[in-house]
């Protein structure tokens, strides 16, 4: 860490001793206070701060580590943060008025893809092998089918259903865990008990037997498998490779009042994301992330997480997941409105919201490809519509083979054999 001081223009933590905010062509402060949760997918934000990318655009990022997504949401809403590292469904939920303190938020930049995985306890996995007929290293679908077999036996023996952890009601982890379970025929609201566990506590909770599995971001799956307390049974890539993960969120009225600052921020984040994708920078990135100010996990684990080298169990069985983390390539930073609609479809699938025309408009408005395009130009954006078919190409399939057509969300939701009762549009009247 010795080489860190002096490289960055950024200032982590409390924000004390910052220079007085300067004006940017009449716009507000050019010191942006940014909230984040200690996860590897905050990399682009951290690198923009530490390696001079923000500074080059005349911005100073004051990064503030927070303890919960609800705090991040509230501190953004109540102007303690200008921008924030957010779960991709958070702005969508905010625009739909969901959650205990919905306040409008938009995402003009996506922080990349990947990083999530599902880990089950050794005990549950052993039963999947013994009772579920799982052989060798099962793929994600074989794993959930084996779990389904175990759950049926547990029910018939009168055993309590396993408790599984996610990170937040409106999280990629919640929807991905549910997607994986449902693909095997498991009803996540009936056959298992889903609870919320803060990511840094997942490995301890699994070791203590408080939960039997979890879906969280990096590095916590690898932390659990390295400790020998759990077995990784699926990665995000297995469920849907393009699934949006974290985004940069901001208040829409702040973005409107500070258009130049927003553009400069997007330019800085774009450069930082390119830097993160370069394999030559991965060691420096690992060093920075391992610091207590950021993720605070062993540098060796972070290095392997970044290269997708997974120890999937305590015996040291390995699996390398290509593109486990993509920070920039393949338009990974482009906030597709269609992705916001896919999140909306999953919210509807699990009964968090009903599908209405107004809801579709609100959900799509959470992602702002127009702001991204304005900052980076047409060359930086993908060809084709912002709202298109997902999961149809060979390298981007959903694990159950379903194809998402955003123009037919109701049919898409109704096409899932496992979903919450009364989901989709049948009970439209409410909104």
């Amino acid at each position: 860490m010795a080489n860190l001081s002096g490289i960055g223009s950024g200032q982590a933590s409390t924000g004390r001793g910052l220079p007085a905010p300067q004006k940017l062509r009449g716009e507000g402060a050019r010191t942006l206070r940014a909230g984040f949760i200690p996860l590897v997918d905050a990399s682009v934000l951290v690198v923009a701060c530490e390696f001079g990318f923000a500074h080059k655009e005349g911005l100073t990022l004051d990064l503030v580590k927070d303890v919960s997504w609800a705090n991040v949401r509230d501190r953004l809403a109540f102007r303690q943060f200008d921008i924030a590292h957010m779960l991709s469904p958070m702005p969508v939920a905010a625009m739909l008025g969901l959650g205990s303190n919905p306040s409008p938020a938009i995402a003009p930049f996506s922080l990349g893809r990947g990083g999530n995985a599902i880990t089950l306890s050794n005990r549950l996995y052993a039963r999947m092998v013994e009772e579920g007929g799982l052989g060798g290293i099962g793929d994600a679908l074989a794993n959930t089918q084996a779990l389904a077999t175990v759950l049926r036996r547990m029910t018939s023996h009168g055993e309590a259903p396993p408790t599984l952890g996610v990170t937040y009601p409106f999280s990629s982890h919640n929807y991905e865990f549910r997607y994986w379970l449902a693909a095997g025929g498991i009803d996540p609201d009936r056959d298992v008990k889903l609870v919320v566990v803060p990511p840094p506590m997942t490995s301890d909770a699994l070791a203590a037997g408080a939960i039997d599995g979890f879906c969280v971001g990096a590095p916590w799956n690898m932390v659990a498998s390295e400790r020998g307390v759990g077995r990784i049974v699926a990665a995000k890539q297995d469920i849907w490779p393009s699934a949006p993960e974290k985004v940069i969120g901001m208040r829409p009225e702040w973005a409107e009042a500070n258009p130049e600052t927003v553009s400069r921020l997007i330019v800085a984040l774009d450069a930082a994301a390119r830097w993160c994708d370069d394999p030559q920078n991965r060691d420096s990135l690992s060093d920075v992330l391992a610091d207590q100010r950021y993720v605070g996990a062993p540098v060796e684990i972070i290095r392997r997480v970044l290269s997708g080298e997974f120890t999937i169990d305590a015996e040291g069985q390995r699996r390398v997941i290509d593109d486990y983390f993509v920070f920039h390539r393949g338009f990974a930073n482009y906030p597709r409105s269609g992705h916001a609609l896919w999140i909306y479809s999953q919210m509807a699938r699990w009964g968090q919201v009903r599908i209405t025309p107004a809801g579709m408009t609100a959900a799509a408005s959470a992602y702002r490809p127009d702001l991204y395009r304005l900052a980076l130009g047409d060359d930086a954006t993908p060809i084709g519509s912002d709202i298109g078919i997902e999961g149809a190409s060979a390298d981007d399939r959903f694990m159950d083979g379903h194809i998402f057509d955003p123009t037919a969300i109701e049919a898409y939701v109704e096409g899932f054999p496992v979903r919450a009762a009364g989901s989709a549009s049948a009970f439209d009247a409410e909104n």
């Binding site: 303890v67 997504w69 919320v196 506590m201």
Partner: protein
């Protein structure tokens, strides 16, 4: 909702601060107050207690667990939401800054909740101030101790009187533009190496 007594649940990992909040609620005439220090099993407590107001310390990482819980209560017909008075953003900002939030059942009048939250905010702030003062007092004590030790060392190896030793430390600190405790610490460290 009628003007009956409010049932209030306080969730704070810090037991001392929680008792200060509890006392404040009692002073304000609230009798139905329950205090818990951890969120394990909180679902059952909320179920049986059916609180009207939940005061929670938001520096607790388990707060997202509470969010999940409130999301579930929405579906069982007793919606709980964060108390946000959009007409008074300053006081909500002050609450988040102080590190405390209130959640309320749907339909509760804001006039009934606001005094509770205001009291919690001022007591949270007073508590942080006390903690800061305590930390300052502790470090002042540590500084005095190290100066005493440095004085003793100087008296012993340079044969100075107590006043001379003190004057030497003070003069050196002024010359070096450092705190006297820093100079004293250097003396103690050096003595540890040399003796």
């Amino acid at each position: 909702m009628t003007n009956r007594d409010l049932t209030i649940l306080v969730i704070d990992e810090n037991a001392i601060r929680a008792s200060i909040i509890e006392e404040g609620l009692h002073e304000a005439g609230h009798r139905k107050v329950t205090v818990i220090h951890e969120v394990q099993g909180v679902a059952r407590i909320i179920d049986s207690l059916r609180p009207d107001v939940i005061v929670i310390d938001i520096e607790n990482p388990n707060r997202d667990m509470m969010e999940h819980l409130f999301q579930l209560t929405r579906t069982v017909g007793r919606p709980i939401a964060m108390f946000v008075d959009r007409s008074d953003t300053a006081s909500i900002e002050a609450a988040v800054e102080a590190g405390v939030s209130a959640y309320i059942v749907d339909g509760l009048k804001k006039e009934r909740v606001k005094p509770i939250l205001d009291m919690a905010v001022s007591r949270f702030n007073a508590f942080s101030r006390l903690q800061r003062e305590l930390a300052d007092a502790r470090s002042a004590l540590e500084e005095r101790k190290v100066v005493e030790r440095a004085k003793g060392i100087l008296m012993k190896i340079r044969g100075l009187s107590e006043e001379e030793a003190f004057a030497l430390l003070r003069q050196t600190a002024m010359n070096e533009k450092k705190k006297m405790s820093e100079i004293a610490q250097s003396v103690v460290t050096a003595a540890g190496l040399l003796m």
